[in-house]
Amino acid sequence: MKKGLYFGYLMILPATILMSVVSFYPLLRGIYYSFTDLKLNKIDNFRFTGLTNYINMFKDSDFYSSLGFTFLFSIGTVVLTYIVGIIIAHLLNRKIKFMKFFRVLYLFPWLAPPILVAIMWRIILNNQYGIINKFLTAIGLVESYFPFIGDPIVTKFTVIFVNTWATLPFMTIILLSALQSIPDEFYESASIDGANFFQSFFYITMPSVKNISLIVTLLVFIWTFNSAELILLLTKGGPLKATTTLPIDMYRRAFSGLDLGYGSAFGVIVVVVMMLVSIFYLKLQKE
């Protein structure tokens, strides 16, 4: 067996090396940087500053608004994609023709690069020439235009909406697969017993997908919490930092503000939150 073991280590070695170089080592390095005053324009000359970055961060009101919006953004996305996703999945599961046709076309938002998603929605939601605003003014709901990407509060919801749009395919496909594994007999015997659409939904569908629901919502939460690309391309975190999340704040401080040390501290907080959330979820799953 010793030869087999040696072979095994050899097989995982290249992948392990690559992952260490690209994920593990940067992680440790990033944590270290959060305790220094590293700047982008003074890369070779930085000092260990202990908890200074963290103390400043906890005094920074921007930190709290970013933290708050990151949670709002993530939870909002998860809730919306789950509710809409399970509805679509349930409908697709009803043995209708063209199910495969719908399922494939529904994949599109997931395939599209975030830059493309941002371009598309910025065109549609644009104040002057956007199709949605033209429609709203045409039917008289608004006078000149509705500031989807201009007003601080509205933009927060716009961003959640677009992210939901982009994440729905993934959620729907996973939930659909889970639903497809529920035996038909369950539904048949329920309808014999007189259960209607909603009853069978709540008493058969939901419990059967509990496990997979927990996994996929955790996954989406983590991805959304960690993401910065879509919002950055959609609103750059504005207007006036209204849609700035922790990752975006980190990105801005590091690469625009040149403050890599401080930015890294923000990153560490994100990682800590991820760990806590995962532990919480694992506890939930055990019940």
């Binding site: 087999g4 073991l5 392990t16 992680l27 991820m274």
Partner: protein
Amino acid sequence: MKNKVLLNILTYIVLIAFLFFFLLPVIVLFSISVKSPSEPITESVLPRGGITFENFETVLKRTDFSLTIRNSFIISISTTALCVFLSSMAAYALSRIKKKFFKYYSRFILVFQMFPLVFLLIPLYIFFMNLHLLDNLLSVIIIYAGISLPLAIWVLKNFIDTIPFDIEEAALIDGCSRFKSFIKIVLPLIIPGLASVSLIVFIFAWKEYLLASIFLGKNNVQTMTLGLAKWVLQHVVEVPEMSAASVLAMLPLIVILFFAQNLLLKGLTAGAVKQ
């Protein structure tokens, strides 16, 4: 019985509504891209002056966009090849070897997917800058592959788990080496899994913007996403051109969507729905 018919009709209506919802941006983009650039952008959905490919000509002939597409292809294909090669080997070992270390390794591996890319970006940038490896397609390929490895390994391991060891056992007893068994017996049997993982990794590399924007500054190494971003970041956004470029960027994805749907779907669900 009336109820059932009603319910079915309602179902179709809702599904079509969602179809429209998911594809509206694409439709708008397509319609703008084939309109003449002088036409106002959303006067009507259909182009008033007839369909013209002027915008596509502008994008392809007068900008560097085709170069960026070429770079994106190079990066995506290389990333996929590298990732599949390394992950399949690792997945095989993790699946077949029943020692504690390998068991914990499999469990632990998905933790690496939990880190924000932005956070890793800072140390990675400094690391590669010190090695003078910025503005280099290879650096990006290596990083993309490394980021995709955890998920790829996990999915492939699950695939290999479904292949009974007995099939290999016969060959091994006959003197076949483990590596040969891996290549000649196991790999062919998980081709759907390999294909699905390849698609997922390819799409990830194709879509990515953030890392590329930091690592690839020079004009000759720009990727398609960076090229598109250039239009977005301009002061006066040239919407018709941008739309045409976007449509071009979407083409590979549409091709994948139509010819590889099953593989895509398998890949997406393989990880999560493991019963």
